[in-house]
């Protein structure tokens, strides 16, 4: 029990801002790489738009932005109620 407390109270990997920054840099680099690789291989697509440069990247990004914007600014004002709404 004592031992587990000790390990729990040690600052974790993500408590240090420089680690978070390092992780973000790695992530952004990888993201760039996945897009860059698009130029170097032959695509087998069913729909024509799948062959456009970065189609999936743009779609994924735009889809998530739209998802969050609609959820936050349209859905939430419509459906959010206090926690005791049904009581």
């Amino acid at each position: 029990m004592k031992k587990s407390n000790e390990t729990n109270d040690k600052p974790g990997m993500f408590d240090k801002p420089e680690n978070v920054k390092r992780l973000l840099v790695i992530f952004f680099t990888l993201t760039g790489l996945t897009l860059g690789i698009d130029l170097f291989y032959h695509k087998h697509a069913i729909f024509p738009w799948e062959e456009y440069f970065g189609f999936y990247a743009v779609y994924g990004f735009v889809a998530c932005v739209i998802l969050v914007v609609i959820s936050k600014f349209i859905l939430r004002p419509l459906v959010m109620r206090k926690e005791d709404y049904y009581d």
Binding site: S4, N5, T7, N8, D9, K10, G12, M13, F14, D15, L24, F27, F28, L30, T31, T34, L35, I37, D38, Y41, K43, H44, A45, I46, F47, E50, G54, F55, Y56, A57, V58, Y59, G60, F61, A63, C64, V65, L67, V68, V69, I70, S71, K72, L75, R76, L78, V79, M80, R81, K82, E83, Y85, Y86
Partner: protein, 592 residues
Amino acid sequence: MINALPPALVLILGALPLIFLKGKAKGVWLLILPVLSFINLLAIPVGSFWSYDFLGFEVVLGKFDKLSLIFGYIFHIVAIISNIYAWHVDDRVQSIAATVYAGAALGVTFAGDLFSLFVFWEMLTISATFLVLARRTKAAIAAGARYFMVHVAGGLCLLAGIIMHVQETGSAAFGFIGLESFASYLIFIGVGVNCAWPFVHSWLVDAYPEATITGTIFLSAFTTKTAVYFLARAFPGTEALIWIGVAMAGFPIFYAVIENDLRRVLAYSLINQVGFMVVGIGIGTHLAINGAIAHAFNDILFKGLLFMSMGAVMYRTGKINATDLGGLYKSMPWTCTFCIVGAASISAFPLFSGFVSKSMVMEAAAHGELRFVWFVLLFASAGVFHHAGIKIPFFAFFSHDSGLRCKEAPKHMLLAMGIAAFLCIFIGTFPQFLYQLLPFATDYAPYTASHVIAQTQLLFFSALAFTLLLLAGIYPAEIRSVNLDADLVYRKGAPWLYRVCDKIFNGINDFGDRVFVQQFPAKLSRFFSDPARNLQSYGVRLLTEATGEEKTLASRQESAERRTRNLAYPVGGGVLLTVSFLAAVSLVFFFF
């Protein structure tokens, strides 16, 4: 006859000893039972067994083909994993309910006729309700009651459809039905309730997050997947399913983004994943059906894994809202790792299980030139990564440090999660083992360069959007709240309905009571207390009113009354004579 038992019976009868077993013995029995049942299943060859005659119809308890067998396998696997996870649970109600529940799911899966299928279908409802009720909180009991009502309504719809269908076709066999007659629509909708179709989905997001920690693992596996199995058997290629599935894949992700209760987030993403399966069944090609079934198989594992990891968090911290959690990666590193494996699987990362099945449905949609469907499914793929893939692990284990310090999940929970995580990666890496079990032979190859890169791009840029929105402060902060959903209709509507029914039916009741219980008998008894006089006096009054001779009314009434008082009617004598005559006649008949 083969040397095995019907799969459903092994578990359902196996639940009986749980009434007496306690502690370790109970735990051990719960570990052995699904394994025994699995061995029993493996001993059964393809074919139809255990058929009996019921009211002139054939009841078949075991119809084994590739479609039912793959569901049988995964149901056993998840039952074994869930029972390991639930080792610590010392609650007879939960153990029995969960075991019967798994048995009922097998009963539906291997039913060869609609009658026995319906019996197991209802057994699913009842046992599942107890898994919700067993949490024994006020919210759980209310949610359990709502769960029960919705499923009973769906079950009745199914039953009505089955009876009409059997009447029309003269056969109770469970096979392809297709959407044609009114009966088939009733069956379709009845199954749709269990499948959590839009507008009848809210029981799922209402009840699953209120169920017990271990109960939710069972719940997430069986009810919706048996419905998917039913649709795959009875309604493959039904176009309506494509659009229903698209709606299921689409709308829940918006709710999942703003939901605070992390198990409820998973419940929404469960509907989203079942949407992919329903679309696949709707498309109906071999590739699409294979994709739907494979995805059901994988979903049971990764959704179970995610629910297990959130359950472990809840078990250790007592909290499940994103607003209360965060920073748990330090306290629960293993749970965190397994959760990330589940998240990667549901998001369909290459080498994880979702990748090898979701892509089959996507490709089937593309081959069918279903552009809109394809775009929505792609949107849903990005969305599911966003809310289940990132949001779940991020808010529970990272995000801000909530200050919560707890122990790692118990060993048996870690073992259960470990097995599920291993299977997710194993199937993702070696999909041919899963593909062999699918109903149609396939040479589908998920790992093409185009496919892997496209999916990786999609996911990385979804993650990029999440990261940037979070850093920019646009990402919606978690707020303690209730989000209205279709259950609003009955949660707020039910009291109204109650009031309306109260007015109408209690009004009719009141009216009936006043008129037929109080006034009418009183009048009758007054009348029959002296029928002759009353009749005469009424007749006299009518006569005088008609003729206008009102002067004579009093005297006529008086004479009527006098005749009555003097009993100047031979009624009594008449009755006596009649009775004597009847008695004489019956004696005559008796003796001669």
